[in-house]
């Protein structure tokens, strides 16, 4: 286990280095002959091209690095996607929550574990199985989304989700939405893996950016189908678990240290 940990520590984790690398990659991508990209920068695909099943977006959560009391990922998600933080909501029990921090304690040993819980972007999502209108769907690149144009707000998907990842918008939002993130009353919603950022070619999500910026580096986002991506490398090195692996849902979010 200690070997595993030291191995994982060798990977480039410091925010400065990550920033340098990404800047260098972008620079390399830009300076090439127009139209020829030797390195595909962060899976940027042309905007007229549909999401492809050659990619499967996924996230690795290293619970050993996730800090107690830190909710940078949650507030970053709220800011990026425009949902009101639960603490500020008037109706806390029904407030939308795309990502939440959990603090778990082993009753026998009192060991505490911190982790963020979000939509697990299952390869075989129960929310899609139960949706009566087909509004809940899985995009080709593995991102599970709600088509709000067809969602009737029945909340079957909320019942079906083993991870309590979805919420319903109960109240009118009065034009407070972000232009990139439409959301509205009467529709179910959940983590989208920041699909607007992914489609823009950022290759990362708001929570991952925030976690890296805060220096915890507990989150890694990337293409699980690409053996050279950072997430694939880390998944090869680290022992990881899927939450409720017994359900055989083949999750897009993997946890280390739980």
């Amino acid at each position: 286990m200690s070997d595993m940990k030291s191995m994982s520590d060798k990977t480039p984790n410091s925010p400065e280095r990550r920033r340098f690398i990404s800047a260098a990659t972008v620079a390399a991508g830009v300076t090439l002959v127009p139209g020829v990209m030797l390195i595909e920068v962060a899976h940027g695909r042309p905007e007229d091209q549909a999401a492809s099943s050659a990619v499967r977006w996924g996230m690795l959560v290293d619970a050993t690095k996730c800090a107690s009391g830190c909710d940078e990922c949650v507030s970053a998600c709220s800011t990026e996607n425009g949902w009101t933080p639960v603490a500020e909501s008037q109706h806390k029990k029904q407030a939308p929550q795309w990502i939440r921090k959990l603090e778990l304690q082993d009753p026998l040993t009192q060991m505490e574990t911190n982790l963020p819980m979000l939509c697990q972007h299952c390869a075989e999502p129960p929310c899609v199985d139960v949706c009566p209108t087909g509004a809940s769907f899985k995009r080709a690149d593995g991102i599970v989304l709600v088509n709000r144009h067809t969602c009737i707000g029945c909340r079957y998907c909320m019942m079906a989700c083993p991870y309590k990842a979805r919420s319903l918008v109960h109240e009118p939002l009065n034009d407070t939405q972000k232009p990139d993130v439409p959301r509205g009353i009467g529709c179910v919603e959940a983590c989208t893996f920041c699909v607007q950022k992914v489609d823009r070619g950022d290759g990362t999500t708001a929570c991952v950016e925030a976690c890296t910026a805060s220096g915890h580096n507990a989150l890694v986002f990337g293409d699980m189908n690409d053996p050279e991506s950072e997430i694939s490398k880390r998944l090869r090195e680290l022992p990881t678990k899927q939450v409720r692996a017994d359900l055989n849902l083949n999750l897009g979010v993997r946890y280390h240290g739980i």
Binding site: E47, A51, W83, T84, R139, L173, T176, P179, P182, R183
Partner: protein, 165 residues
Amino acid sequence: MAGKIKRLLALGAVVLTTAALAWAGSDDQPKASGAPKPVITKAVKGEQCVEPNDFMRRNHMKVLLHHRDETVLEGIRTKKYSLKECINCHASEKTGSVAASKDDFCVSCHSYAAVKIDCFDCHSTKPQGSMAMHPLNAETAHYAHKLAAQANSKVSAEEMAGVAQ
């Protein structure tokens, strides 16, 4: 034969009179009568819409519907026919929005035609960030200060996100 010519002449006279009446009617029709015509403001930026105006007036809903499904289901985010781009160009200078006041671009016609739209139950009616940041805005960034002045007097986007449910 003479009867036939007479009939033809009569018919011709009727047609001419009708046409003349219609012509006069269209011109002389007082604008005050009936419902007030919608205010159609020229887009703040951009010279020409993605399609001719006549086409867009009749078919904008069709192209928007098609584009919306491609975007949501497949992740195709081309700018042509994107609702976000409509808003980027057509947001009013006064309110910074396409649907905040009754003269704003979308609302103006839709209330005249009594067609209720629910786009803005979910979609933001305002362009993203400062207008100058938008790529289409590169040449028209000098308009930005007008909107910025409006935006500054109101709540910022971040605060707005915090306010509401």
